[in-house]
């Protein structure tokens, strides 16, 4: 079996992963933590080659090289705004790999190893769910398909029937481990994954990525059980547990339950509002007027959103903030936990523009400050300042904690159009008499604002 030195090596890898997760919880140690995790993974691969002495060495090394090139190129090329999609994609291929490994293990299982067979069935079906679910998530985030919830009348029935069918096939597989039953189970898992993610609205999709991430962790753990490999067991379980908790933390930040996010649309409860783009009057102004509002304020809070990132305007925003600070205006960034398209996404985007993270203030910390703020500048955000979350029980975002921008003296929105936000609902704050709108691409508007600010 596996030699003792290899077991100890795997233990070292496992400890690396634990240290990595721990270090990733704090900005100061996060980068080191990630490198420790990577070192643990490399160690694990080297040990595997040395201890198992696998046949087909050359093809395996070539496959490794192909995967490495693919991974590096993909992660180097991606823009920070597309991060959620990429994480979804990486997660999907991991789940797919786990399902394939389990399928191949089917041939090796003796008929009396019931627990192994159960773990194998679990890995196949959940790995497949994770793969196809991630692919649909990717398509939604990349806007290859509609970001709205997709449901059809028979969906709940079909979904439940597929789940029952999955259980039945899994039982069959456990009593009689045949490869073709495994393949059927895998195909059914793929269908379940698609049906699981289709009804989830675009704004909630990141929660699903996190959930599927936890799923993949658990499949890796089950795969480790089947192979009798403690490293896979520990690493998979770690990710499964941490991923589950992270999913819950993210859902809490959105004021939703995970169950509601997954099945809300299916139950017909909280589908999107009609997106009634009304032609009610709004107050709009030019850059000069807005620059005067900002330049003569004492205290300004910036609320950045995904629109900022799409326009690649983070750097211009940072320049504007530095100009304001130079004039003695106190400026803070208010970061909603789900600003951007994924929890914590906005922090990454602003970090890219070299905004020091101590200027970024979290929602709970800054929400009391809006009352004493002269001007709130909302750049490319919408849903996270929508008071409907507090006032309109029928709104899909009802109950989501929001930034209290409406409590400030004045609110300025930089918006491209009156199109509703990602959640697809109207924002009353836009029609408030204290709100001023500056229409245009975020980068254009910020550039003009910056120029205007230097002259007032």
């Amino acid at each position: 079996m596996i030699p003792t030195w290899a077991q100890i090596g795997y233990l070292v890898s496992a400890v690396c992963f634990i240290v990595a997760l721990k270090a990733l919880s704090s900005p100061r140690s996060a980068r080191t933590g990630n490198l420790i995790g990577a070192a643990g993974a490399v160690l694990a691969v080297i040990i595997t080659f040395a201890a198992y002495k696998p046949d087909h060495l050359a093809p395996i090394l070539i496959a490794l090289a192909i995967g490495t090139v693919g991974g590096v190129v993909g992660s180097r090329r991606v823009q920070m705004t597309q991060m959620p999609q990429l994480v979804a994609l990486f997660n999907g291929v991991g789940g797919g790999a786990a399902a394939l490994v389990a399928l191949l293990e089917l041939g090796e299982i003796s008929s009396d190893a019931t627990v192994s067979a159960i773990a194998t069935a679990f890995t196949i079906v959940v790995g497949a769910v994770s793969f196809s679910g991630s692919v649909v998530t990717f398509a939604k985030l990349q806007e290859l398909m509609t970001t709205r919830p997709v449901t059809f009348p028979g969906l709940p029935v079909l979904f439940v029937a597929s789940l029952l069918g999955g259980v039945a096939l899994a039982v069959w597989l456990v009593s009689d481990p045949r490869v073709w039953v495994g393949v059927l189970l895998c195909l059914l898992g793929l269908a379940i994954g698609v049906m699981l993610v289709l009804p989830v609205g675009g704004a909630d999709v990141p929660i699903v990525i996190s959930l599927l991430n936890a799923f993949t962790g658990l499949t890796v753990a089950a795969g480790g059980y089947v192979l009798g490999n403690t490293l896979l067991l520990v690493a998979g379980t770690l990710v499964g547990a941490a991923g589950t908790l992270l999913t819950k933390l993210m859902a809490d930040a959105m004021g939703r339950s995970v169950f509601n996010i997954l099945f809300g649309a299916v139950r017909g409860g909280s589908t999107l509002g009609g997106g009634t783009a009304s032609d009610r009057p709004v107050i709009s102004a030019g850059p000069e007027d807005v620059a005067i509002l900002l330049g003569y304020a004492n205290k300004v809070i910036i609320v950045p959103g995904y629109g900022l990132a799409v326009a690649q305007a983070q750097h211009t925003l940072r320049d504007l903030v530095e100009e304001l600070q130079g004039r003695g205006v106190k400026v803070d960034y208010a970061i909603h936990p789900v600003a951007g398209r994924m929890p914590g996404h906005m922090n990454v985007l602003l970090a890219e523009a070299q905004v020091p993270y101590d200027q970024l203030r979290e929602m709970d910390d800054i929400n009391g400050d809006f009352k004493t703020t002269d001007v709130v500048l909302v750049v490319g955000a919408n849903d996270v300042v929508n008071p409907a979350a507090r006032t309109t029980p029928s709104a899909p975002i009802y109950g989501m904690p929001i930034l209290n921008a409406d409590e400030a003296q004045r609110v300025i929105f930089l918006k491209r159009s009156m199109r509703p936000g990602f959640a697809g609902i109207e924002n009353e704050l836009l029609y408030d008499p204290k709100t001023t709108l500056l229409f245009g691409d975020a980068r254009d508007s910020l550039t003009k604002l910056l120029a205007a600010l230097k002259t007032v």
Binding site: M83, G217, L245
Partner: protein, 101 residues
């Protein structure tokens, strides 16, 4: 059977560790943490190598190699992209230093 119990024990303890180590993470780091955890489960690569290395039919080798490629993309891509994100997280004063360079 005792090996099964040992593996079950490891599973349960690891689950507690997993919850414990990230229980105090700030929302600032949710994205890199998700991405980092994502990279860690790429260690299924180890399983893919073991299965492929023990294979004796061409089709099993082919499927196994596909699993190796997918798992490697997950693992390598995950760590690289997490590093790219974290590289940008800078503390107070870091920008000034950069300007003075």
């Amino acid at each position: 059977m005792s090996e099964s119990i040992a593996l079950l024990t490891i599973f349960v303890l690891a689950a507690f560790v997993g919850v414990e180590v990230i229980s105090k993470v700030s929302s600032t780091l949710h994205t890199p943490l998700m991405s980092g955890a994502n990279a860690i489960h790429g260690v299924i690569l180890v399983g893919a190598i073991i299965v492929t290395g023990a294979a004796d039919s061409a089709i099993v080798v082919a499927v196994g190699l596909l699993a190796v490629v997918l798992a490697t993309v997950n693992m390598v891509g995950g760590f690289v992209v997490t590093d790219r994100m974290l590289e940008m997280f800078k503390g107070p004063g870091a920008r000034k230093k950069e300007l003075h360079k």
